[in-house]
């Protein structure tokens, strides 16, 4: 290899441009965070701009006293955990089953599911059917529609096809059934793709918003995304919270919840779980979208 060229003007400009892009991408996260840990009085006057002032963490305590927020967190965590588990299990099993040439009508059934990626009945027909299925104010509305995900099935099928078939065959010789083969032989081989799916699925569930918007009227089933959206849009619901928490606590102005502190802190509560798992899943998603780029 030749010795690398010197640091040119191009490099200087490149570093500056990339740094600016990175700052633009990350600054909103940073800005909201410093506002949640600063003096609420200064924050609500717009005086916390580039660094935190009078650091305090009371907002993160207060915000959990907001009626309904803990419940919404339970709903969001619940749908994420349960939804991810069943989606991963179903995608893994189906992806495996569709690699079995001997399945009755294999090609037809595979296409039957895959083709659903390319059409959509539309919002109203979807809503009316969900209503007729009893999915209004039903937690299952978060889980059941996510179980069969064609894109994930394609990912698993492609991945299983790239693993050696000999292991499966020898297990079959020993009299193992399909389910045993899947659990004991195939699952350990395909954990990387299952991890990728788990990440996509978990982020998708956590971020999902419109199913709550359309299907849920019962406060007990509201997700964090949905109540955040309400706090952003309905000044009255935020004012209500402030009145309730202010009356009950009588804290000094620096810790007194404000509209800004409630909005920023709830936003951080929704963002932080993503930030926490992000470093771990980063290595998986590159693999995921590369396999996904190969058509099924």
């Amino acid at each position: 290899m030749a010795i690398r060229e010197k640091f040119s003007l191009f490099d200087v400009i490149n570093y500056i441009v990339l740094t600016l892009i990175t700052v633009a991408c990350f600054f909103p996260f940073y800005y909201l965070f410093i506002n949640t840990i600063s003096n609420n009085d200064l924050s609500s006057k717009g005086l916390v701009m580039f660094y935190p002032k009078d650091i305090q963490f009371s907002n993160y305590v207060h915000v959990f006293k907001i009626p309904g927020l803990v419940q919404a967190a339970v709903v969001s965590v619940g749908r994420t955990v349960i939804g991810t588990l069943v989606t991963v299990a179903a995608s893994g099993l189906l992806g495996f089953l569709f690699t079995k040439q001997e399945m009755w009508g294999r090609r037809f059934w595979y296409r039957f599911l895959v083709v659903t990626m390319y059409f959509n009945a539309g919002l109203i027909p979807w809503y009316l059917i969900m209503r007729d299925l009893g999915m209004i104010n039903n937690f299952m509305a978060y889980i059941l529609p996510a179980i069969v995900s064609p894109f994930f099935i394609i990912l698993v099928k492609t991945y299983v096809e790239s693993t050696p078939i000999a292991l499966q065959e020898s297990a079959q010789m020993d009299g193992a059934g399909y389910f045993t083969i899947f659990l004991k032989i195939v699952m350990p081989l395909i954990t990387p793709i299952l991890a990728t799916i788990a990440i996509f699925s978990a982020v998708g569930q956590w971020n999902q918003f419109y199913d709550t918007l359309f299907l849920m009227t019962d406060q007990k089933l509201f997700s964090l995304q949905f109540i955040l959206w309400r706090y952003l849009n309905e000044a009255t619901s935020v004012a209500e919270i402030m009145k309730q928490s202010g009356g009950a606590m009588r804290v000094d102005a620096s810790m007194m919840p404000t509209a800004t502190s409630i909005r920023t802190t709830v936003t951080m509560i929704v963002v932080i779980p993503i930030l926490m798992v992000y470093p771990f899943f980063q290595r998986f998603f590159v693999k995921g979208i590369m396999i996904g780029a190969v058509k099924g």
């Binding site: 690398r4 191009f10 490149n14 570093y15 990339l18 892009i21 990175t22 991408c25 990350f26 909103p28 996260f29 909201l32 006057k45 701009m49 099993l93 089953l97 569709f98 001997e102 399945m103 009755w104 294999r106 059934w109 039957f112 599911l113 659903t116 390319y118 059409f119 959509n120 009945a121 539309g122 919002l123 109203i124 027909p125 979807w126 809503y127 009316l128 059917i129 059941l144 179980i147 069969v148 064609p150 971020n207 918003f209 419109y210 995304q225 949905f226 955040l228 959206w229 952003l232 936003t267 929704v270 963002v271 993503i274 992000y278 470093p279 980063q282 590159v286 979208i289 780029a293 058509k295």
Partner: protein, 318 residues
């Protein structure tokens, strides 16, 4: 008949029976999931019948009047409705076109990033720029609210403290440049993520091509232009074709969260329009008719994109 002969003729039959059993066993294992797929993806299609009835929420379909293609012709039947459809289609086309135009930005970003030699810096840039892809549009809107709101937003506060403006401007509730603003938020969210494919494509380019170019005296820009760019054109083309197939499917979430009374005229894309007509206006029949038209057009676009892909690359996308 000797024992060995019987055994020999029995073996294949036994195997056959075994396979027949397996054939259905595999199907039965998949069956519950096929049912779920049918319920949540195919069953809603039956809801298309609502487009042919004068259906109002609260009154059962059986008591609603069958009106044939009334809702379909209603889309363009009178002046007011026609203008509205044209406005919505214009928003859809404008935002989608801007989206396609800005799809070169991840390419440029990927090229710039791969030109960086410091791997720590490279990894940090990639990590932080990909992050926005993983947050929902509600969160993006929350960021937008905190940064650009008229009431205590970062930008207004900054400009005021610098003495550049006297009164805060309401950027979010403005009808100016809505298309551009929506596109830019799309870029903000998707830039790092969109670049991943291109970075992978660039990594896959044979390093010998660069060595050869260097030997021929090619400068850094020449190397980028003659080696890197041709190396990622195929990837760019595939993604471009896919975006044609999705030209009228902007989705609803982004426009829904950013919409307000001031910018509605410019932000209302087809998907949001269906929501507004159906849920806010309670006109289920008309909204369904618009959905059906949309599905037909996007199916047409999908086949068009597929044909285009076949003609140019010799490979289909579906």
């Amino acid at each position: 008949m000797s024992a060995s002969l019987t055994e020999a003729s029995n073996a294949p039959r036994k195997k056959e029976r075994f396979q027949i059993k397996n054939k259905y066993k595999l199907f039965l294992m998949a069956f519950p999931f096929l049912v779920l797929g049918f319920i949540f993806s195919y069953l809603p299609l039956f809801g298309w019948v609502y487009a042919f009835y004068d259906f109002r929420p609260g009154i059962p379909l059986s008591k609603s009047e069958f009106i044939g293609f009334h809702w379909f012709t209603a889309m363009f039947s009178n002046e007011v409705q026609r203008d509205e459809m044209i406005r919505v289609l214009r928003n859809t086309f404008a935002i989608s076109s801007l989206g396609i135009l800005t799809s070169v930005l991840p390419v440029i970003f990927a090229i710039l990033l791969t030109e960086v030699r410091n791997s720590k810096f490279k990894r940090m840039v990639q990590t932080l720029t990909t992050l926005p892809n993983f947050i929902s549009w509600v969160l993006v809107y929350s960021f937008a609210f905190m940064l650009f709101s008229v009431d205590n937003g970062f930008l207004n506060n900054l400009l005021m403290s610098l003495g550049l403006i006297d009164t805060p401007t309401n950027i979010l509730a403005s009808s100016n440049n809505t298309w551009l603003a929506m596109t830019l938020w799309g870029v903000w969210k998707g830039l790092g993520w969109g670049a991943i494919m291109y970075i992978a494509a660039i990594t896959g380019i044979d390093p010998e091509l660069y060595e050869a170019a260097k030997v021929d005296g090619a400068s850094r820009f020449h190397q980028i232009w003659h080696v890197t760019v041709p190396g990622i054109i195929p990837t760019f083309f595939v993604l471009l074709i896919l975006s044609i197939a999705n030209f009228i499917n902007n989705g609803m979430e982004q426009y829904f969260v950013f919409a307000n009374a001031m910018n509605m005229a410019n932000i209302e894309v087809l998907d949001l329009y269906v929501y507004n007509v159906g849920f806010t206006g309670s006109n289920f029949g008309f909204a369904t008719a618009v959905s059906i038209m949309k599905s037909i057009v996007s199916l047409f676009l999908l086949f068009l994109a597929n044909g285009l892909s076949k003609a140019v690359r010799g490979e289909t996308i579906i």
